[in-house]
Symmetry: C2
Subunit: 300 residues, 2 copies
């Protein structure tokens, strides 16, 4: 089934203890799309400025990603992010950020994408997330991400969005901020009362947690020895999760659990190299192998 | 099989966001013994001062714990610890600590304990740990804990100890300090090269990790909604783990994994109330039920 993603596309500069990369492809929708494309056909919706080299999207040529929703806007500049993990591999320090085109109007979803059944609304302004969701004909599973900024500044709109989606993916700090609950299980339960049917809380190197009315599911992160660049781990996690779900057609607890494990494994490839290089180095067979290895590493 | 533990016995004062308890029973050997006694017969070796009320050990009357190795030393004072989790439930702030009798000579292991086959050397000076280990006749599985202080001040003696034990249990910060490796898998592998056959790294609310030459095993913490007092969680974890191992007779990967899961579950009871009250509120049946619940909560 077709999986639609809308989110940021950016030009990143990233520093980690392992080196620095200038002007590499990044953004939530980019990592998500690449990660999900190991599982299903992906429709990418996003906008860049005229400064963005077309060649940057060559990475999608070999992938099952339809870039027909990619707008290159004249007179605008591409979103740019410069982050550093030199002090702490678990939290990016933003050295510089230029929203540029992301602060303008949202990209339009192409007509032939409007029948998408699986939708991931990557982090952006909750009004834009609602607008894009509203234009879709009959979405079957809608999952969104958000961030501290919107929780703090656009709470009423964010709460409206939460009433319209099936799942919310967010990190531990965001879950605590949204609910004012320190305990993550309590926080997830509080978010459930805001509308979504399931909540996935990402804890970075400490794994993730899913809570629904059918109970809790906890996963450690894949025990990775090689962590080169954590950028995009959360978006790749969501991509692997949604990509797998789009192939299943059911959202049983068992299916959601397997999906979270696929998200975990795909993210472990992302962080093994800079930018998209970690994902580019793998394939579905290697992902499946590592999925079984992961299952083994935590079964008792 | 008999499980011997040597470690601290203390009188604690603990503050958490949920309240304060003055002069309650605590110490590594106490939490360990109570936790392990759900599984096997425990031999407790430790020392307190003459200020310690005998009634404090009434908690062990109903348990399968032999307190014959408990020395009440005339002229000495009991170890006292005053900690606070008010600012951070994940890390105790030590308000006051008086080593008292713990800074004197070690307690003697009774003659009838010297044939113990399973041994846990809870955190104390590595010279004392080696002395106590040396007096045992034919230990079959020896696991030790340690702490920052000894890693920083008694490294040569600690390294000698590591050459004599089968397993080491320590927390993430200690593993990083001991090995100067940031990545925990790399840290655990570095400890393996120092002697032990397996390393268990405790990550508090983020679960634990075991590394041996047979691979890695990762576990999230039990998804607990009720965390009242984290004191003793790590020692209860070790107690549950060793208690289960002492009943098994083999140390296969599968057995070690199940043991870590039992440790995780027992610790989840400890943190649900102050001091030993969480452990006192449970029994082996409830532990087994939660073990299955935990297995379910992370199976995919």
């Amino acid at each position: 089934m077709s999986l639609l993603v809308t989110g940021s596309i950016g030009i990143d500069t990233v520093e980690t203890p392992h080196g620095k990369r200038d002007d590499v492809i990044g953004g939530s929708a980019v990592y998500f799309s690449y990660a999900a494309s190991f599982f299903t056909h992906v429709r990418l919706v996003g906008v860049v400025g005229e400064d963005c080299p077309r060649s940057m999207f060559d990475v999608f040529k070999e992938r099952d990603v339809d870039t027909g929703g990619l707008e290159m806007r004249k007179g605008s500049k591409t979103f740019r992010w410069h982050g550093s993990y030199v002090k702490d591999m678990n939290e990016a320090e933003t050295v510089e950020v230029d929203l540029n085109v992301l602060s303008e109007r949202a990209p339009r979803i192409p007509q032939n994408f409007l029948d998408s059944r699986y939708v991931f609304l990557a982090n952006t302004h909750p009004v834009l997330q609602q607008e894009m969701l509203g234009s879709l004909k009959s979405p079957r599973l809608v999952v969104a991400d958000t961030m501290n900024l919107w929780i703090q500044t656009e709470r009423p709109e964010l709460l409206k969005l939460l009433g319209k989606i099936h799942g919310l993916v967010l990190n531990d700090g965001e879950a605590r901020l949204l609910t004012e609950e320190k305990n993550l299980i309590s926080a997830a339960r509080a978010v459930l009362r805001m509308g979504p049917k399931f909540i996935v809380i990402k804890k970075g190197e400490h794994g993730c947690l899913m809570v629904s009315d059918r109970g809790e599911f906890v996963l450690p992160a894949f025990p990775a020895q090689k962590v080169i660049d954590p950028t995009g781990a959360g978006d790749s996690f969501a991509g692997g999760m949604m990509g797998y779900l789009a192939t299943q057609g059911t959202f049983s607890s068992a299916t959601l659990k397997r999906a979270l494990a696929f998200g975990t494994v795909v993210a472990s490839f992302t962080i093994s190299d800079f930018s998209l290089a970690g994902l580019q180095s793998t394939d579905r067979d290697r992902i499946d192998d590592r999925w079984h290895e992961f299952k083994q590493a935590m079964s008792f």
